[in-house]
Each structure stands twice: as structure tokens, then as C-alpha cells.
Amino acid sequence: MDAAGGTELAIRTRKLNLWYGTFQALFDVDLEIRHGMITSLIGPSGCGKSTLLRSVNRINERLGYVRITGSVDVLGHDIYAPEVELVQVRQQVGMVFQRPNPLPISVRDNVLFGYDLHAGGRRKSRAEREEVLEDALRQVVLWDKVKDRLDHKATALSLEEQQKLCIARLLPVKPGVLLMDEPCSALDPRGTEAVEELIWELRGRYTILIVTHNMAQARRASEECIFMLLGKVIEHTDTAEMFVTPRHQETADYIEGRYG
């Protein structure tokens, strides 16, 4: 997939509806997310945040009973178009999960896993790979901590380090969009802070869409904020604005903790 094609929008959905079997989880979602932004996605449990996130890299369709109407464009291209190659979509749209899920191989192999896959048969030179490795780990502020442990199993790292590693391994394939589904909820406060800082660091280089249940985090770590309720997008504005002067009563209620 070539670069943004002149458009400023990283993600754009039009009348996106999604059904799990007969249960409709998303209703006419229209979203426009600008390039290089950090956008947080908030809303009560079960409102469809994860579902929305997962339809941006087409991971939902592994479940045979999911049906979708409407369109999702990433960097100006419809990812549900019939000629689209899933592998290309996944390369462009990286995903970070709630529980860190490093592969049970070395730290080095984790970071270079995606890189090697997309390098095709051509094995890159050692120096080149080491450079990619260091660059990715530096971007997630992990290089200094793990540079002596590159050949240790990634599963032996602390949870915070694991989650950073999971972000780092997406970077070598140069994704445009990073999706994060509650990336800090398995971490302690210090880890949370560190990962938040990191996300903030990545701002501008990647478009980041992050689901969180933590109001303070949404407020601290994002530029724009989307509030969802029962499968619909209620409000999408500047984060500062949403938290000070929400336009909808539901948003205000949620922010003040009346939905739990």
C-alpha cells in the first residue's frame, strides 16, 4: 500500500455497522481520525470499543459469524475492498493487546519477527538487522534496559518491558496506525506511567487509537477523545474540551463516573 495518497485522514469509517450473529455491536459509526494523532476511545464496558478497534485491522472476521456493512478506509484505502491483501493490512495497522503477548522466543527474535516475515526470502545482513533492532527498541525506550539480554526469552521480562516489546516489534515493518486495546490494564502504576510516556513519545510518527477505562489516562495521554455508548459514537472532540465542556449529557455522566 502506498503512502497516504494526499489525504490527511489515517482512519475513516462510513456508516460502519457490525453484527456478531444477530447481535448488532456497532451502529452507523462515522469516524475521521487525522494522521499522527493520539485518539482515545472511552465508554462503558460492552459499548463496542474493542469491536471498533478490531474492525480497523480486520481481525474480527476470524470469527465466522461476524457481518459488516459500511466502509473502513485506512490511509485513504478501503481495507474491506475485495482485492485487499490481509497481510498488507496487518503490516500497516499494528495491534497491541491488553495482556502483553510476546512470543516465547528471544527478545531479538521477537522484535525482528515481523521484519523477517516481510523481508521475504531475502535474508537481511546482520548489521542491517541489528540496526533495525536497536532502532525499534530505542523508540520504545527499552534499549538500555535490555541490550544485555537480547538473547534471553522475552517471556522472562517484566510485564512493563513485555508490553513495550510488543509495541517495539510492530515498528520495524513501518505501520502507519497503532491500535491499542487497554495496553496498560495489566500493568502496575509505574509501568502504566512508563507506557503512557512512551505512547506520548510516538505521537506524530504514528496514528494511535487507544482504548482505555482510565479517565485520567485518556485525559493525559491523548489529543482527541471518542466517547461511545451502546455501539454508537456519541461524541468525538478535542480531549481537553471533552473533559471540560462535554457537549452531550451522556458524556458528562460517564466522565463523572455515573455509568461505572
Binding site: 481481525i59 493487546f97 503477548n101 516465547p104 522466543i105 516475515l117 516481510h118 517471556t155 515493518v173
Partner: protein, 289 residues
């Protein structure tokens, strides 16, 4: 104030009784195994020697060794493995990683499990019909091994599928999300983590195969052959059949000879099982998630 109440005492007495009872049951279970092993070692032990293991039977099998049978069993098992492992592992990978979860897949799974319950004599007859007659392999190592392979295929498939399914789903998702295809995911992450389980399954299967008699009796194992097999189209002797022959078919057999054969067979199986357990422990200790 912490003295036992009557209720406490009654509970303690019941606890004691139950423990005794369960312990006694377990003992009853272990006893036959020990008796069998003990008898074999006591009666068959003295006959075991280098000559016994490495020379051919003589004097109408009432003297000499068991070398052709020992070698034959090893051949039969190896050829059976060559057929059943690739086939079984491939089928298991398909069933657990590729096949959609629908009624058809479930029906196939059910069929495989049921196949494991088919008596070995039925497999033997199938082997005669299919390999000996239809494919014209004649009574040969090939026909016997393929019959054994068919018989043990369900075990390989089930063991492989179980170890594949023990690999956490999160690993697969991580790979798919980095744009790995299914096969790349399987080759680089799923298989390396499942290999210990697959290996133990395979070895257990070997030990089962080594002892089978019915499936090879009509398809490729011979009563007595004065020479060693030259190719997979020859017949061969086998330990299990040899045991049957020397214990029931030949008059004037020295008493210790059948025990010696049985002892060798059991030792082979036990060695295989121990190897499988050791391997499992070694590979378990190495992986960590």
C-alpha cells in the same frame, strides 16, 4: 480451647479410613505389575545373554537366540513410524489449525477417536484386504507396517492435536497481527512449542506398536525364517509373534525361553516409555511462558 470436639474426631476417623481404603486399592493395582515383572525377571532373566540377543533360533526354535525377531520388530516399528508420523501430524495440523469449526470437522474428529477403539484384529483383516491383496504387497514388512501405521494413526493424530491446542492462542494472534500467514505462524511458533508433546505421543505409540501381534500375524510376520529380511517386501520374524509361537506352538520348549522373550519385549517397551517421559521432562523444563 483448641481441643478436638466429637465431630472433629469422627471426621478424623473417616479421613483415616478413606485414606487407607484408597491406598489399598492403589496397592492392588500395582501388585499385578510387580508380580508380572518379578516373574519375568526371575524366570527369564537367566537366559538373557549376548548370544540370546544376537543369534538366530536353532533346533526348531527350542534353542539359540531371538535376533531375527528383535530386528524384525525394530524394522516393523520404524517403517510404521515413517508412514504414520508424517500423515498423522499433517492431519492433526490441518484439523487444529486450518479446518473451520463446523459439523463436518467435528464428525471427522469423532471418527478418529472411534478409530482408536477398533480392535486390532479388525485392523489386521483390513490390512490383509488392502495391503496384502489389493495393493499386491504380499505378506511383507511393508504390508504389516502399513497395517500397524493405520492402527496407530488415531493416537498420533490425537496426541499431536492436543499438543497443538496446548499452545496459547495469544501466540497465534500475535503472529497474525504482525502479518504472518497461518503456515508461517505454525512453522515458527506453534510447532516448536508443540514438539515435545508430539514426540511423547509418537514414542508412546511406538511402544504400543512394538507389542501388537494380531495386525502383523496375517500381513507380514512369519513363524520362523532362517534368514534376515533383505527389503520391505520380505517377511520377517517379530518378537510379539515369536513369543506367541514359543509359548504355545512348539512342543518341548525349555521353560525359560518364552519368559526370556517376554522380558526382552517388555524391556523394549519400558525403555521407550522411560525415554518418552525423560524427553517430556527435558523439553518441559526448557520452555517457559
Amino acid at each position: 480451647m483448641f481441643d478436638a470436639s466429637p465431630l472433629n474426631r469422627r471426621n478424623a476417623r473417616n479421613e483415616m479410613l478413606v485414606r487407607l481404603l484408597l491406598g489399598a486399592m492403589t496397592g492392588l493395582l500395582v501388585l499385578p505389575v510387580l508380580l508380572i515383572l518379578g516373574t519375568l525377571v526371575y524366570k527369564g532373566g537367566p537366559i538373557i545373554s549376548f548370544e540370546f540377543l544376537f543369534t538366530s533360533p536353532t533346533n526348531g526354535m527350542t534353542a539359540g537366540g531371538i535376533f531375527p525377531a528383535l530386528l524384525g520388530t525394530i524394522f516393523l516399528v520404524l517403517v510404521a513410524l515413517l508412514a504414520s508420523v508424517p500423515l498423522g501430524v499433517a492431519a492433526a495440523i490441518y484439523l487444529s489449525e486450518y479446518a473451520p469449526d463446523n459439523w463436518f470437522t467435528r464428525a471427522i474428529n469423532l471418527a478418529i477417536i472411534n478409530l482408536a477403539g477398533v480392535p486390532s484384529i479388525v485392523h489386521a483383516l483390513f490390512g490383509v484386504g488392502a495391503f496384502v491383496i489389493f495393493f499386491r504387497f504380499g505378506t511383507s514388512i511393508l504390508a504389516a507396517s502399513l497395517t500397524l501405521a493405520i492402527m496407530t494413526l488415531p493416537v498420533v493424530i490425537v496426541a499431536t492435536r492436543e499438543s497443538l491446542q496446548a499452545v496459547p492462542q495469544a501466540f497465534r494472534e500475535a503472529c497474525w497481527n504482525m502479518g504472518a500467514t497461518r503456515w508461517q505462524t505454525i512453522r515458527r511458533v506453534v510447532l516448536p512449542n508443540a514438539v515435545s508433546g508430539i514426540l511423547t505421543g509418537v514414542i508412546l505409540e511406538v511402544s504400543r506398536t512394538a507389542g501388537e501381534t494380531a495386525p502383523i500375524m496375517f500381513t507380514g510376520a512369519a513363524f520362523f525364517l532362517p534368514f534376515l529380511p533383505q527389503s520391505v517386501f520380505d517377511q520377517t520374524m517379530a518378537l510379539s509373534l515369536h513369543l506367541f509361537v514359543v509359548s504355545t506352538q512348539v512342543p518341548g520348549m525349555p521353560e525359560e525361553l518364552p519368559f526370556g522373550v517376554a522380558l526382552v519385549l517388555i524391556c523394549m517397551v519400558l525403555a521407550m516409555n522411560s525415554l518418552s517421559i525423560a524427553l517430556r521432562m527435558y523439553l518441559r523444563g526448557r520452555k517457559r511462558w
